[in-house]
């Protein structure tokens, strides 16, 4: 049964050079239902040209408000949905060129944990069996192996292996999220995408799950892509952070540097809008932030997508689209101010 235990190790051509994940020019346009019978279908530009690399063992944060395309990006990387354009390379393997069979093999290398732990688990299957499911999908081990392996992973995520037969509704949100993490890890992937993994959890539980994730990262040599709308969590958890707005990355940098010195006006606004749990922090009337709403991704503004809400907008912002450029080592921003 060497198959189950070797996990990620030994597969893939590249042992440690270069990025683990590389995303280039990723685009996803959804065709919506046309309004009238003869109208052209409106196009929702969910992801509109995203590039980033994720190094081995690092954690990259993707932040942005709803509709910025962060969850769509995750699904594109995993090829749960097919992109309109662009390329995704995992460990020197072109994810988008894979055949169905190759994709199945590739699923062992990259897994995902979703936001709502309860609804991401089958309500009618015991948590132990759900953890063992991916082994079943890939035909790894026999029933007994899978059973033992799932019990082992229950313990790995800090649950008792006696909980094997419980159903998800008997667990709290935090416990179910542990189950979802165990299910994602049982194939020993190299890349784990965490899509708002603590957003649905209570404050006092969040840190428990984050600690577990940090712990597992060291133990299993994992690389994380961490998606969240909560900047404090992203900053605490990620080595580097990318800020998304309307399907594009507007700034990407080391987390410390991004928070100390945000360069893009949108990043600045996001940071100043967070109310701090601090008696000397800003009161509601002095909270920063932005006027207006995020424009619809069906008819995004021309030029820089942010120019409609930007306090520093200039004439050229509505004419040309700024591209990401490195203004300091490791700090890229897409803005004409820099």
């Amino acid at each position: 049964m060497s198959d189950i235990t070797t996990g990620g190790a030994g597969r893939g051509a590249n042992g440690g050079e270069g990025p683990l994940l590389s995303v280039e020019g990723l685009v996803k346009h959804f065709k919506l239902d046309p309004k009238g019978l003869f109208d052209a279908p409106p196009i929702l530009r969910a992801v509109d040209g995203v590039d980033f690399d994720v190094m081995r063992g690092e954690t990259l944060g993707l932040v942005g408000e709803s509709g910025c395309g962060k969850s769509t990006t995750a699904r594109l990387v995993l090829r749960l949905i097919e992109p309109t354009a662009g390329s995704v390379t995992l460990d020197d393997v072109d994810v988008l060129a894979c055949s169905k069979k190759e994709l199945l093999a590739l699923r062992r290398e990259m897994q995902i944990v979703f936001q709502d732990p309860l609804s991401s688990l089958n309500p009618r299957m015991s948590v132990g069996n759900q953890i063992a499911e991916p082994l079943r999908f890939h035909g790894i081990g026999d029933k007994v192996d899978r059973f033992d392996r799932a019990r082992e992973f229950l313990e790995v995520v800090g649950l008792s292996s006696d909980y094997y037969d419980r159903l998800p509704h008997e667990f709290s949100g935090g416990q179910n999220q542990r189950v979802a993490i165990a299910r994602a890890l049982i194939l020993r992937p190299k890349l784990l995408i965490l899509d708002e993994p603590v957003s649905a959890l209570d404050v006092s539980i969040r840190a428990q799950i984050l600690r577990l994730l940090i712990d597992l990262q060291g133990r299993f040599q994992l690389t994380y892509v961490f998606i969240s709308h909560d900047l404090s969590v992203v900053k605490r958890f990620c080595n580097r952070t990318a800020v998304l707005y309307l399907g594009r990355i507007v700034e990407i940098a080391e987390s410390e540097s991004l928070y100390r010195e945000p360069l893009h006006p949108y990043s600045q606004a996001l940071i100043s809008a967070i109310p701090e749990a601090n008696p000397d922090g800003p009161r509601a009337d002095s909270l920063g932030g932005l006027e207006g709403d995020v424009p619809s991704p069906i008819s995004p503004p021309t030029g820089c997508p942010f120019h409609t809400r930007c306090p520093h907008r200039m004439p050229e912002c509505s004419e040309r689209t700024p591209v990401l450029k490195e203004v300091k080592p490791g700090h890229q921003v897409a803005c004409f101010l820099h």
Partner: protein, 336 residues
């Protein structure tokens, strides 16, 4: 201190379930002072939303208010008929809900929904009500209000819908505004806008406000007073600076410690409260927090914790705090 606008005493709201009695709110007492913002903080299942629904008398079976009294100025809310209560809701007490998507009726225009509330409570004519609706929409920062009166809820963004709900809630200049997680469903930049608006409106109208939230950042930005709830009961109460600077109850301490702050470094320790919140179905006697508490003593499992007025200015409901205060008091007494 002035007369409280609202006082809640010994409120118990229980839900009868197949598996037992869920004591969602179990003996809650507090006062809301005129013109002040009281934040009720707690995690899911702490009973904070049920408290708001109890004040509005919106509890539905299998839930029931089994004990306690709620007085609004000199009126006993629990003694009012349903009809009198309907008169009060949306008129003297306005409510804003968490989900702006589902709190508006999708088949009526925004204008119709605001106008209807105004007419129902003030008996104004249709024209007067319409003029007032436009004025309210401008007040809550909806651009081009005249044009948007005839729009339907789905044509508004989440943030704009929450503004509409605020406009409806303040239409009759209520004495109390109750906001139940008003920004939880919104993005950060929109949340900042709505918090600014709520604070602004509350000051303009001079009404008292109860803001229910799980987000201590929101508390810090909005509250004058803070009430921390755990498992259907109050654990600590005090003004906002006291609660943040000198929290005394172990739960409040743990909660404040669990928050991840922007200026935390990647090396800083991630703290949490161990264990899970209990589900208050047929709860045993004593303190509900004892299993997760770092200061738990034997007495915590047998006797309900006492109310302690602390030297630092808050009220904590805790055996350990009582012991600390006792020791400190004795120490002070002996010193001079």
């Amino acid at each position: 201190m002035s007369e409280p606008v609202l006082s809640v005493r010994g409120l118990k709201t229980h839900f009868r379930l197949r598996t037992g009695t869920l004591k969602a709110v179990d003996g809650l007492s507090f006062e809301l002072q005129a013109g002040r913002v009281l934040c009720i903080v707690g995690e899911s299942g702490s009973g904070k939303s049920v408290t708001a629904q109890s004040i509005m008398r919106l509890i539905e079976l299998p839930g029931r208010i089994v004990d306690g009294d709620i007085s609004f100025r000199d009126q006993d809310l629990l003694a009012l008929t349903e009809h009198e209560m309907e008169d009060l809701r949306g008129n003297r007490i306005g409510m804003i809900f968490q989900d702006p998507m589902t709190s508006l009726n999708p088949v009526f225009t925004i204008g119709e929904q605001i106008v209807e509330t105004i007419i129902a409570h003030t008996g104004a004519s249709k024209e007067e009500a319409r003029a007032r609706a436009v004025e309210l929409m401008r007040l809550v920062g909806i651009p081009e209000p005249e044009g948007r009166l005839t729009d339907y809820p789905h044509q508004f963004s989440g943030g704009m819908r929450q503004r509409v709900l605020i406009a409806i809630a303040i239409a009759c200049e209520p004495d109390i505004l109750i906001a139940d997680e008003p920004t939880t469903a919104l993005d950060v930049t929109i949340q900042a806008q709505i918090l600014r608006l709520l604070s602004d409106i509350q000051k303009k109208l001079g009404s008292a406000m109860i803001l229910i939230t799980h987000d201590l950042g929101v508390v810090s930005a909005m509250a004058d007073d803070v009430l921390v709830m755990y498992s259907g009961r109050m654990v600590e109460y005090g003004d906002v600076k006291t609660i943040f600077r000198n929290p005394r109850h172990p739960y409040t301490l743990g909660l404040l410690d669990s928050i991840i702050k922007l200026d935390d470094s990647r090396e800083s320790e991630l703290r949490s409260i161990s264990g899970l919140p209990p589900i208050p179905i047929n709860p045993p006697p004593g303190c509900a927090f004892r299993d997760r508490c770092v200061k738990a003593m034997d007495v915590c499992g047998t006797q309900d914790p006492p109310w302690v007025e602390t030297a630092t200015g808050s009220t904590a409901v805790c055996h350990a705090v009582e012991a600390e205060e006792g020791a400190a008091g004795a120490g002070q007494g002996a010193a001079p």
